[in-house]
């Protein structure tokens, strides 16, 4: 069900689908564009999908993989655990879609929905949140900049 509580973000990235998939599911990449956070996932449906804080002391996300079709589609639960007010809201859902295009590009779309009962989360991720993340992801994947070791 798509309604006004759905947010959609889209960006062209000059890379193979697999490289973008890796950037979403491997901690050495997320650490470079996701506020320093390190992802933990096997990418298998029903398994945990976690974001660890940069210092590794806290969990910023602790949800589940809902759908996976590597390297094209990954759907995960979402709850912003880094802020108690956001964490208290019901879980929402994030779908990452990677569609190969002509000329060595992929179209990456993030659909964040099920936000109807989570207005604070909606405005938090809708401010600079996803924009910053996607723009950063593009830079990391296309240039490899900031990636150490």
């Amino acid at each position: 069900m798509m309604d006004e509580t759905t947010q959609v973000y889209r960006i062209f990235i000059r890379a193979e689908a697999q490289a973008i998939w890796d950037a979403i599911t491997r901690p050495e990449f997320t650490a470079r564009y996701f506020y320093g956070s390190r992802v933990e996932t096997t990418g298998d449906v029903g398994t945990p999908f976690r974001y660890h804080s940069p210092d590794g002391e806290a969990l910023w996300g602790d949800e589940t993989v809902l759908e996976a079709d590597p390297p094209h589609r990954l759907v995960v639960g979402w709850r912003s655990l880094w802020d108690p007010e956001l964490a208290a809201e019901p879980a929402s859902r994030v779908a990452w879609e990677i569609e190969p295009q002509d000329g060595g590009y992929c179209l990456l779309t993030v659909v964040h929905d099920r936000l109807a009962d989570s207005p604070r989360t909606a405005s938090s991720v809708g401010g600079t949140g996803w924009m910053l993340v996607l723009s950063g992801l593009k830079t990391v994947v296309e240039t490899g900049s900031g990636l150490r070791g």
């Binding site: 889209r10 062209f12 000059r14 600079t128 924009m131 723009s135 900031g146």
Partner: protein
């Protein structure tokens, strides 16, 4: 595809900016919804939406029979990153990295 010309062209028109404002207030509107709020023909609104879609500022998704329009702010973020980033976030991330390196070494 990081060509920003279509973005600036799309943003140069007040009607198109008004459409983006509508979609910012409420995402997921159909052409019929948007037409109702704009003082112009359905054809006119559709034409402007196409320019916005070409610039990737508007993304459409199918929901049943309906085609819903969403504001995609990412190209505007790219403008920010290209020119503003130089003065602000580069420094922030450099400091973050420095902190991490010091912590790793220590």
């Amino acid at each position: 595809m990081d060509d920003l010309d279509p973005v600036f062209k799309a943003l140069a028109d007040p009607t198109r900016r008004a459409l983006l404002d509508r979609l910012r207030e409420r995402g997921g509107q159909s052409l019929t919804d948007l037409e109702r709020e704009m003082p112009m023909s359905r054809f006119g609104v559709a034409k402007h939406l196409q320019v916005l879609a070409d610039a990737d500022l508007v993304v459409t998704r199918r929901a049943g029979r309906q085609k819903l329009h969403f504001l995609n702010p990412v190209p505007i973020r790219r403008i920010h990153d290209r020119w503003i980033d130089k003065y602000t976030e580069g420094r922030v991330s450099a400091l973050t990295e420095l902190k991490q390196e010091m912590e790793e070494d220590g």
